[in-house]
């Protein structure tokens, strides 16, 4: 990373910058909006309802008085107003002359400022004094109407209790809102701290790997959640990477080692030939022929290394097609069968019918050829070799070559797949030591694998044999 000028910009503490926290805040905002809308609805529903109820009561009272006036006249109404105003009822009354002079009632003047003759509603406040001399202001509602005789009648009601209820509701709603925000925030912080802790372990691994420590591994907590999955995935990836890099390193050393000896021989032969020719003796022709042969050996090794490297670099084999594995195996069997016969080996092939697989036929043919090559090379005369193609119950297609040769001890089986590894007793056999490595690389490039197991077991001097299987995933 290039050095940057120190950031002067204000930065939030780390926990506030985590993705889970940001998500929390976002959801909190959404949740708070929804809660706000709900609170608004509740407010309208409760406060509005209280006002409607008061208004209806005032209306009813007004109606009663107006109908009394209509039936019995002004004096009866005046009487009723005086009686009711003196009573314990919750209503306020005011009866006025047409020019707004008080006739009777419980309040001195009408709170209605402008009256045009139509029934008019108003909201006002009433001041009260209690026994201790404290004054209270109550909110109130009132209705003023003109009577048939031109007099004005006002009926009002104290809404103090309803209003107090509404205020309580609002206060409760505010409290609930604050609780939602605080709880959400705490939850978010807690959540992001947990997630951050899980991420921190992964970030530490990534940092370590970036700094060159390929051995770093993420901690898998065993919670079987997506973090464990991710950690396991990262670990597996690193395992493969480490193996592959170790493989490259090993191959580098091995190539140097494997090419050095034939190149040294080659150089020595050429030098001897040169000295011989200079001295006018010896057989330079033979030395040259041998040198050519050595060169070819070196080139073959190169070709094999290159093929493996390309397959591994590509990850998957190129030009994959659907093909009949038995046909492919039969063609290779046909190529190798005479060689077996020449070496005095019994050769048998067994192919299941109607199989299908997906892959690069050229690479797979070469892999099978290598397996047969190995089997023929290591099985003594009188032995037997079996090539079999079948479908496993898992749907995978298996190519297997079984021989009755000396086999490979279990401890060495993983090792023989590695590049250039040749067991002690096979040092003198021709071959690059790359045969099985190539088969393994081909199998891996097809998403398959190479399996090495014991053959049919010991029979007299023979055995226990080797069974090598190239397994391809179901097409």
């Amino acid at each position: 990373m290039p050095d940057e000028a120190p950031a002067r910009r204000f930065r939030l503490p780390r926990i506030f910058r985590t993705t889970p926290f940001r998500l929390t805040v976002l959801f909190l905002a959404l949740f708070a909006s929804a809660a706000l809308a709900l609170l608004a609805y509740i407010y309208v529903a409760t406060a509005g309802e209280a006002r409607r109820r008061t208004d209806a009561e005032i209306n009813r009272e007004m109606h009663g008085l107006v109908s009394a006036y209509d039936q019995a006249g002004l004096s009866a109404l005046n009487q009723a107003v005086i009686e009711r105003a003196a009573g314990e009822g919750a209503f306020l009354y005011l009866l006025m002359t047409p020019d707004q002079k008080r006739i009777s009632g419980s309040i001195p003047y009408s709170p209605v400022d402008k009256f045009d003759g139509q029934p008019t509603w108003t909201t006002f406040s009433v001041t009260d004094v209690d026994a201790q001399g404290h004054t209270f202001k109550h909110p109130a509602r009132g209705l003023q109407e003109r009577l048939a005789g031109g007099q004005l009648l006002f009926v009002g009601a104290d809404v103090g209790e309803d209003e107090a209820y509404v205020v309580q509701v609002v206060r409760a709603l505010w409290g609930a809102g604050a609780l939602i925000v605080v709880l959400g925030l705490c939850g978010g912080l807690l959540m992001s701290r947990n997630v951050s802790r899980s991420m921190a372990s992964l970030t530490a691994v990534v940092d370590a790997v970036r700094n060159g420590d390929l051995g770093a591994r993420a901690h898998v907590r065993g919670a079987r959640d997506e973090f464990d999955e991710l950690s396991a995935g990262v670990n597996e990836m690193l395992d493969r990477l480490e193996r592959s890099m170790a493989g490259h390193r090993h191959a580098g050393d091995a190539i140097a080692h494997d090419l050095r000896s034939p190149l040294t021989r080659l150089r020595a032969r050429l030098e001897v030939a040169y000295l011989d020719v200079e001295a006018g003796k010896g057989d330079p022709e033979q030395a040259l022929a041998q040198a050519l042969e050595d060169t070819d050996g070196v080139l073959k090794t190169f070709a094999a290394v290159l093929a493996i490297a390309r397959l591994q670099a590509a990850g998957t084999a190129p030009n994959q097609v659907l093909f009949d594995p038995c046909e492919l195996a039969a063609n290779i069997a046909e190529l190798y069968e005479p060689l077996c016969e020449d070496k005095g080996l019994e050769f048998d092939a067994e192919f299941a019918k109607g199989l299908q697989a997906r892959g690069n036929e050229e690479f797979l043919s070469q892999a099978l050829a290598n397996l047969l090559d190995n089997a023929i090379k290591y099985t003594p005369a009188g032995g037997a070799i079996m090539l079999r193609v079948r479908r496993r119950s898992s749907g995978e297609v298996e190519f297997s070559v079984t021989d009755t040769g000396p086999g490979v001890p279990e401890a060495d089986r993983e090792r023989v797949v590695q590049r250039f590894v040749r067991l002690e007793n096979s040092r003198n056999e021709p071959g690059s030591g790359l045969g099985l490595s190539l088969v393994a690389a081909v199998a891996e490039a097809h998403g398959g694998r190479l399996e090495i197991a014991e053959g049919p077991g010991k029979v007299g001097e023979m055995g226990p044999g080797l069974r090598v299987a190239l397994v391809l995933p179901r097409a």
């Binding site: 050519l292 070709a303 060689l339 690069n360 050229e362 070469q366 090379k377």
Partner: protein, 223 residues
């Protein structure tokens, strides 16, 4: 034969020219694709050897241009790229054969000869005859001195290839590529065993062997 060598590696081109000239061929050299195209347009050649990767114009472009102009001269591609895909691209562009570097010189000569010969036998034959050996391609039968020889299908294909290239050296790699259609190099010489089987069928019991082993190169069927 007149051979055009289009190769930007001067040392390799020189070695090729010397070897091919010693084998009795007349060679013309071009060091890049454009020069190769000019040379190919100017002269009549029996075979062209074209390196795939060159400055100015690569081998594939060169051959595509020539094929568009109607030039059908057989082309042998040389390439350091040996993957199946690379070979297919080369052959699709109009190449007739493909040889991966590094190659044995015997291999190069055998392939050049095979390409030149293929051009001469352009017409369709139903009967191949090499000396006493007679092959009926329709009836799938082979006779030597009138005596029928029983061959397996692959042996028949192998002999057919040898007969079509009678008198020429044919390498093991060529046989593996043309008869078996495999392009990899087996660790053991499986081809030798097949040849010796074929030899025992067509030469055994006759006074003179026809299927010869050519040291350092491969095999040759002589009339």
């Amino acid at each position: 034969m007149r051979i055009l060598i289009v190769e930007d590696d001067l040392e390799a081109a020189e070695a090729m020219e010397r070897g091919l000239s010693e084998a009795g061929n007349a060679c013309v050299r071009a060091a890049d694709g454009e020069a190769g195209l000019t040379a190919a347009r100017d002269g009549e050649f029996d075979v062209m050897i074209v390196d795939r990767m060159m400055p100015k114009m690569n081998g594939v472009q060169l051959v595509e241009s020539l094929r568009r102009e109607g030039d059908q001269t057989p082309v042998l591609f040389l390439s350091a790229l040996g993957e199946v895909g690379d070979r297919v691209t080369g052959l699709q562009a109009g190449g007739d054969d493909y040889l991966v570097k590094p190659y044995a010189f015997a291999e190069l000569i055998a392939r050049v000869e095979a390409l030149a010969r293929r051009r001469e036998t352009g017409s369709v034959h139903t009967l191949l005859r090499v000396g006493e050996l007679e092959m009926d391609l329709i009836g799938r039968t082979v006779h030597r001195q009138g005596k029928e020889i029983d061959l397996q299908p692959r042996e028949f294909q192998l002999l057919e290839f040898m007969m079509r290239h009678a008198g020429q050296s044919v390498t093991r790699t060529m046989l593996l590529e043309k008869v078996w259609e495999y392009h990899f190099d087996p660790q053991t010489n499986v081809i030798d065993v097949h040849i010796s089987r074929l030899r025992s069928k067509i030469d055994k019991g006759f006074d003179r062997p026809m299927l010869q082993t050519v040291r350092g190169a491969g095999y040759r069927l002589d009339a």
